[in-house]
């Protein structure tokens, strides 16, 4: 099935300390984490950061296998960038024979680091969505962008657009799956033929998919207007975001680990 391979963006209910933490804490820490993956450079700090990530996955209660499956769709990109790096980095070649002449030790090192970096970033991003409902996630983003409203950034509208987009990813995937099955039942063939033929075979899927996406958008707009939605000005929320004990735990632990890693790296 189509849905099975796409794990990013999926929320997995649970009661770990990560689930309970405020979305703002998690968003900020995820961003810091991504910066961290680029600040660390030596073997040991990399190992420590990877170990930390795996421990966090364990704490979250999300099955490790499921988390790692999230890397699958992006495996191609990871391998592609790694290969490019192996061949294009200048330095000492590992051998004088072709093709090893073009492979350098520096290239291999860089490629490995890049692959690990990308993997860690994907895992941390998935963890954020695994442990945060889409609604809380966009609430958090809106709150974080709030200060920018003063300089005219439409924070609420951006958050609303994001939450609608997130909300409809599974719906559209399901819809695609349904239409593909319906067309397959009429003899459509998606798996054989050359690239052009395969691309063409998706027309019977894309046309109905677009039609239904527009219909859904239209219905959603009507439903929102019927409930007097007029944008962000003056809106109050039923669920107020609050920092709790869970946030303190998550925040302090992460900051200590990040600081230790930086010390290890640069001292």
């Amino acid at each position: 099935m189509l849905n099975a391979s796409i794990t990013i963006g999926q929320y997995i209910p649970g009661d770990s300390v990560l689930h309970r933490a405020d979305p703002r804490t998690k968003i900020i820490l995820s961003i810091v984490f991504m910066v961290m993956t680029f600040l660390v450079n030596s073997f040991w700090t990399f190992a420590a950061l990877t170990a930390f990530t795996l421990v966090v996955v364990l704490i979250s209660g999300v099955p490790m296998k499921y988390t790692l499956r999230g890397l699958k769709p992006l495996l191609f990109i990871i391998i592609f960038t790694a290969v490019i790096n192996i061949f294009t980095t200048s330095g000492t070649p590992i051998s004088q024979t072709i093709p090893f002449k073009y492979i350098t030790y520096e290239g291999i090192e860089l490629a490995l680091k890049l692959a690990v970096r990308l993997a860690l970033i994907i895992i941390s991003g998935s963890l954020l969505t695994f442990t945060t409902t889409p609604i809380l996630l966009t609430d958090g983003i809106e709150k974080l962008l709030n200060p920018l409203k003063k300089i005219g950034v439409p924070a609420h509208e951006l958050a609303m657009m994001m939450s609608i987009a997130l909300r409809f990813i599974p719906t559209l995937l399901e819809e695609t799956d349904k239409i593909m099955k319906a067309q397959a039942a009429r003899g459509a063939d998606f798996d054989t033929g050359n690239l052009v033929q395969r691309a063409k075979s998706f027309i019977p899927v894309l046309v109905p998919l677009f039609v239904s996406a527009f219909r859904r958008a239209d219905e959603l707009a009507t439903a929102m207007e019927a409930r007097c939605y007029r944008g962000g000005a003056g809106r109050t929320r039923m669920r107020q975001l609050k920092f709790t004990e869970a946030d303190t735990k998550v925040f302090v632990t992460s900051v200590v680990v990040f600081a230790a890693l930086l010390l290890l790296e640069y001292l």
């Binding site: 099975a4 997995i12 239409i179 067309q183 039942a185 009429r186 003899g187 109905p208 039609v211 239904s212």
Partner: protein, 286 residues
């Protein structure tokens, strides 16, 4: 082309937190020319079941044999011509510029001459009760009921030996519903094809089919004739279903007059039964 299911089990997304067993150890045999109704609560596994008939879903364990051939092997395309499945809201799959082209989609790999194609399309379009004029229109400008029929015609054009319809009348008005069921039974009779109908309308099931399969929580709860299935109303209600409304009426009438036959599940049969009963009463001397 009989369909045989042997210990069919299907699990969605195995190995994830969303793992769900949709079908558990199903054994069924569907013979040629049967008219079968599948009923069951939402989420009872009806849709998962029918998608195994043409290999859209593969069994997690167990076997599905169509005409003696396993669906997980080769020849899927051939299989899908023999088992035509019309999904819920099939009009959402229309995509071509004209109705004609859309129906012809199922024939694209057939190497038919333009004349043969046209002949087949004219046949199915009249079988589903549409006029020839509709062929040159865009499938997006015709009415909802017409769209639905065009979509069904798009499956029928492949000449399937088995036709599976998943709630073909959902969202249609009573007239549209009667028209669809009208041509479905006609096709069943005249072309002798097996029809499998998934529906939530007990009235329609009772009126049309010979055999009813009741699904509950991924398993076959009851499998029998209309009378066998609908006679046990408490059992149906315990799994969130019901009998046709006229069955309830006949049960109440039987409490008043024990000689009435309560195993009547269509309005027409109930009328006959009551007339027979009234006729007898009139003949009795006062």
């Amino acid at each position: 082309m009989p369909i045989v299911l042997e210990n069919l089990t299907h699990i969605y997304m195995p190995g994830t937190p969303f793992e769900k067993a949709a079908l558990k150890d199903i054994n069924l045999k569907i013979e040629d020319g049967e008219f079968i109704g599948i009923i069951g609560h939402t989420g009872s596994g009806k849709s998962t079941l029918i998608q195994h008939f043409n290999g859209l879903l593969k069994p997690t364990s167990g076997r599905v044999l169509v005409n003696g051939q396993e669906t997980s092997g080769k020849g899927l395309k051939e299989l899908r011509r023999h088992v035509g499945i019309v999904f819920q809201y099939p009009e959402h799959q229309l995509f071509e510029e004209t109705v004609y082209k859309d129906i012809a989609f199922g024939l694209q790999k057939d190497n038919l001459s333009e004349d043969e194609k046209r002949k087949k399309i004219l046949e199915v379009i009249s079988a589903v009760g549409l006029k020839e004029e509709v062929l040159e229109k865009s499938p997006f400008e015709i009415s909802g009921g017409q769209k639905r029929r065009v979509a069904i015609a798009g499956v029928l054009v492949m000449n399937p030996g088995i036709l599976v319809l998943d709630e073909p009348t959902a969202g249609l008005d009573p007239r549209g519903r009667d028209e669809i069921f009208g041509f479905v039974s006609k096709i069943h009779e005249s072309m002798g094809i097996t029809v499998i109908l998934v529906s939530h309308s007990m009235e329609d099931i009772a009126k049309l089919v010979n055999r009813v399969i009741v699904m509950n929580k991924g398993a076959v709860e009851v499998d029998g004739t209309v009378t066998e299935v609908f006679a046990d109303i408490p059992r149906l209600e315990s799994i969130g279903l019901s009998a046709p409304q006229v069955a309830y009426l006949m049960k109440r009438l039987k409490q008043l007059r024990p000689e009435i036959d309560e195993n009547v599940f269509t309005v027409a049969a109930a009328r006959d039964e009551l007339l027979k009963h009234l006729g007898k009463e009139v003949q009795k001397p006062c």
